[in-house]
């Protein structure tokens, strides 16, 4: 079972060193998104990379929609991988949805993680009273219903462009990586992410965290970083990158790598 998991999720261990670093990608990408960050860490760390089950590079047959209807199943996958590799302690870097997965994993197994580094993280994407998550339910529903109603248009990639003309930049930005996954899986996981609300869990985190945010990320408002800092249970720092965009590991790898180095425990 363990071996099929490692194979199915394309788990790779590269680099050499006595410390272990896990790089977890976010929605709509796969582990190749870390390729420009890797060279900075392979000399000193054993780096573990894997693909989320919803990534375009994983056999879609492995995606069981009854199992993956909440983030808990993704957390199971992560913990099973670390168990199969015999990892007892590691530092974890997670982007977007993987940041949330990392938070939940650290609540379940606090001794496993020495540090959590969260890039582009958000405990809840939908706006609420007194909480600005960045997205209104109505906007998101427009994208989802376009995806569902017109499969043909979705396949031709027209859905988000047609929708994108009317919806705010945040949704357009978020839907950019939407197509790197199979449409039904993509729709399902999007719903899972937008339905999740981890604000209540943040206080249970004991592991020290570093929240990394770009100066202008259309998918994650600036206030979210501050929110995380005040609510996360462990010692938390916030780093703002002097760059824009939701994918700093692709657009500004050198900058991000420097910040990661400083944030990782010695």
């Amino acid at each position: 079972m363990a071996n099929t998991l490692l194979e199915a999720l394309n788990v790779r261990v590269v680099g050499s060193g006595d410390r272990i670093l896990v790089l977890a990608h976010g929605f709509g990408t796969d582990q190749s998104v870390w390729q420009r960050i890797l060279p900075f860490f392979t000399p000193n760390y054993r780096v573990i990379l894997y693909d989320l089950v919803c990534a375009g590079s994983v056999n879609p047959d492995y995606f069981d929609s009854t199992r993956y209807d909440t983030l808990d199943a993704f957390v199971d996958d992560l913990l099973n991988i670390l168990k199969a590799l015999g990892v007892h302690r590691c530092a974890y870097v997670g982007h977007s949805v993987s940041a949330m997965i990392g938070i939940l994993a650290s609540i379940r197994c606090p001794q496993l993680f020495s540090k959590l580094i969260l890039i582009g993280a958000s405990p809840r994407f939908l706006n609420d009273e007194n909480y600005h998550g960045g997205f209104e339910l109505g906007e998101i529903e427009e994208v989802f219903s376009a995806m569902e109603a017109n499969y043909e248009a979705w396949v031709n990639g027209f859905a988000p462009v047609l929708v994108g003309a009317d919806v705010p930049t945040a949704v357009r930005e978020f839907s950019r990586t939407l197509f790197n996954m199979r449409p039904d899986i993509s729709l399902f996981v999007s719903r899972t992410i937008f339905n999740s609300d981890l604000r209540g869990e943040l206080g249970k985190v004991r592991v020290p965290c570093c929240v990394i945010q770009t100066a202008k990320d259309v998918s994650v408002p600036a206030s979210v970083a501050e929110y995380l800092k005040t609510r996360l249970g462990g010692r938390t720092t916030v780093e703002i990158l002097r760059t824009e965009g939701h994918l700093p590991h692709l657009t500004a790898p050198v900058l991000l790598a420097q910040v990661l180095r400083r944030a990782l425990p010695r």
Binding site: A55, G56, R176
Partner: protein, 650 residues
């Protein structure tokens, strides 16, 4: 069998020997496959006369190798799936597989193989010691710790009869070759064909001393193609002395092709730099190569006052049929009435002139008078030529000219090029023009019939549309079978295209068009990294491919655009969706990577039967650094493509 005769002679009355000769003349694979289904006798005859075979199929199915093609002498193993995978590495006993290959194809003397590591070559070469012609292919990066020359040693070790070697698509260092050639002198002296061109832009080309050391060991070379360094600022540049010594080393050359290392990537003329080659030496070189039939000197640096040398070319190399010159100035002055320079080379059938900035209309017309047998003509970057001169040229050669290429000549845009070709409109078979549109409104209302045109090649800048093509004079091409479109440019700063579609649907006016090469590899843009407000490559991809669903194409080679920052060339959702709807497509070859689920979209296309991802560009992505199309994905896709539940109509 002639219809209308009433004799009782049947095809089977013809003696077997003659029948076998008849069968040997047929080279088209589908025809041969059909012939082999007629009856047992024809099956055996077909199998015994099939000389050339390209294996397609998954490597893990190698044990299913057909053993009925025992007469095959030319075997191509470079297209096995997954493309570029180390051939025998995945088997626990690679030697047995290699022996099985030998058992299935005992008569192979010509081999093309994708070789990732020396072990593969060692195993293959040892199975076929009679190999005479070998072409190696590799676009992947080298193993970092490989010793110099280790890639080629197994071949030279096992194949003493090697006479022809082609490493033009094989990524290796230039330092690898000379020591190997020197270490095997007996093979070197019998080597007659050596192709060491470099098609990847990352290697520099052979230095002067390397070229000379190779040619010194191979005096019997008849064909030499090499990429070298003509820039006099670089160490090891090709000088007068180099060329002279080369000619002395290999006097039997019938094909000499020397290209500068920038010739593949850089088309704009390097007017500032001069090559260190004089016309006087060129003349000497030509006189030492009397057997020359084809000469290519693509120098990419100025060679001046060359007409005396070219006049000598005519007398010293009487068998010369094909000439290609890059950045030679003064090839023909055309000022006085007796022809001069290249116009004296009367035997030429093919002439290609690149970046000759001083070539005037008069000189061009003089060439058309002098080289009256020209059937193929290419002109690139000659900015003084005008439509009038070009028209005169084609008019003078209207009995012989069938293949013309006109590219980035300032005064010859699409419409003026087509007008200049009017005298050969009903003869021309192969044509290239750049799609530079001027004001073409109201230019061509009448139907222009290009009755023999079979192959059309176009260059177009990114952001331009294709639709004006049929309006500019190419609206009647009943015989057009194949079209090649190269799109080039940086779309990062371009505004989003204002039209929905590039214009592929305008190609439906060519009723017999079945093959297309759509080359967007020169388009650079943002894959996922577009800043806010900029357009992703996926939207550009939809722009380019929109309309392809209505085409009647059977075969498509699609080179994806690239994001140079992250070294990504991949297929996006719009392409997968649109290609899946292209109802007549049988063969699809994508030169880039693709995610598994996007490839699975293609299964919705009922007629597709041969699909492969070929990353034949340097550096080809290794499965370790990129997760798109891993081996497992490729195998699952091919299984699904070939499964019996898909009923392909023919």
């Amino acid at each position: 069998m002639a219809a209308g005769t009433s004799s009782n002679v049947h095809l089977h009355d013809i003696p077997d020997v003659i029948l076998s000769n008849i069968f040997s003349l047929e080279t088209e694979t589908r025809t041969r496959n059909a012939m082999s289904l007629v009856c047992l006798k024809w099956l055996l005859l077909e199998r015994s006369t099939r000389k050339s075979l390209t294996l397609r199929g998954n490597i893990r199915n190698l044990f299913l190798l057909p053993t009925c093609f025992r007469a095959v002498t030319h075997l191509d193993l470079s297209f096995l799936s997954p493309w570029g995978y180390p051939l025998l590495d995945s088997f626990s006993n690679p030697l047995v597989l290699a022996q099985f290959l030998r058992h299935a194809f005992p008569s192979v003397v010509s081999l093309i193989a994708y070789v990732r590591n020396p072990l593969t070559l060692h195993l293959l070469a040892s199975q076929w010691p009679n190999l005479q012609h070998v072409k190696l292919v590799r676009w992947h990066q080298l193993w970092p710790a490989a010793p110099v020359g280790s890639d080629l040693v197994p071949l030279f070790d096992h194949c003493p009869m090697l006479s022809s070697l082609d490493v033009s698509h094989f990524y290796c260092w230039t330092e690898d070759l000379p020591p190997v050639i020197q270490a095997y002198p007996s093979i070197a002296t019998s080597l007659s064909h050596l192709n060491i061109l470099k098609h990847d832009s990352s290697t520099d080309g052979f230095k002067s001393h390397q070229l000379l050391s190779i040619t010194a060991c191979c005096p019997n070379l008849r064909k030499l193609l090499a990429t070298c360094i003509f820039n006099p600022r670089f160490i090891g540049f090709i000088s007068d002395q180099t060329l002279l010594t080369l000619a002395l080393n290999c006097p039997l050359l019938s094909l000499l092709h020397l290209a500068d290392s920038t010739s593949m990537s850089n088309v704009r003329p390097n007017l500032i730099e001069d090559a260190s080659i004089s016309f006087a030496t060129l003349g000497d070189v030509f006189s030492k190569l009397p057997l020359l039939e084809e000469l290519v000197l693509d120098v990419c640096h100025n060679v001046k006052h060359t007409w005396p040398a070219l006049e000598l070319l005519n007398t010293k190399c009487p068998m010369l049929k094909s000439l290609r010159l890059g950045q030679f100035q003064g090839i023909c002055r055309g000022i006085a009435s007796p022809p001069d320079g290249v116009a004296l080379c009367q035997g030429l059938e093919s002439l290609s002139i690149k970046n000759c900035t001083d070539l005037t209309d008069k000189a061009l017309i003089a060439i058309s008078h002098g080289c009256h047998r020209l059937s193929k003509f290419e002109v690139l970057g000659c900015n003084q030529l005008t439509r009038k001169g070009m028209w005169e040229f084609t008019h003078n050669l209207r009995k012989t000219l069938v293949d013309v290429k006109i590219s980035y000549c300032k005064n010859l845009n699409a419409v003026s090029s087509l007008q200049a070709l009017e005298p050969i409109r009903d003869r021309i078979v192969k044509l290239h023009i750049d799609c530079v549109w001027a004001s073409i409104i109201g230019e061509e209302k009448s139907l222009k019939n290009w009755s023999k045109l079979k192959y059309l090649s176009l260059w177009i800048a990114v952001g331009e549309l294709l639709n004006p093509l049929s309006l500019s004079g190419l609206n009647g091409c009943p015989s057009l079978e194949e079209i090649q479109i190269k799109i080039e440019g940086d779309c990062r700063d371009q505004p989003k295209p204002f039209m929905d579609a590039f214009g592929l649907s305008s190609l439906t006016c060519y009723p017999n068009l079945t093959r297309m090469i759509l080359d967007c590899s020169g388009v650079t843009g943002y894959a996922l990294t577009a800043p806010v407000g900029h357009t992703d490559l996926s939207l550009w991809e939809r722009f380019f491919l929109s309309g392809i669903q209505d085409s009647t194409l059977n075969e498509l080679n699609y080179w994806t655009a690239q994001d140079v920052d992250v070294n990504q060339r991949c297929l996006f959702l719009p392409a997968a969706g649109l290609l899946a709807q292209c109802g007549s497509l049988r063969k699809l070859f994508i030169h880039g990577t693709a995610n598994e689920h996007l490839m699975m979209f293609l299964l919705g296309n009922p007629t597709l039967r041969d699909v492969q991802l070929r990353e034949d560009y340097y550096p080809a992505p290794d499965n370790d650094t990129i997760t798109e199309m891993r081996v497992g994905s490729c195998c699952r896709f091919e299984d699904a493509l070939n499964s019996s539940s898909r009923h392909v109509p023919d």
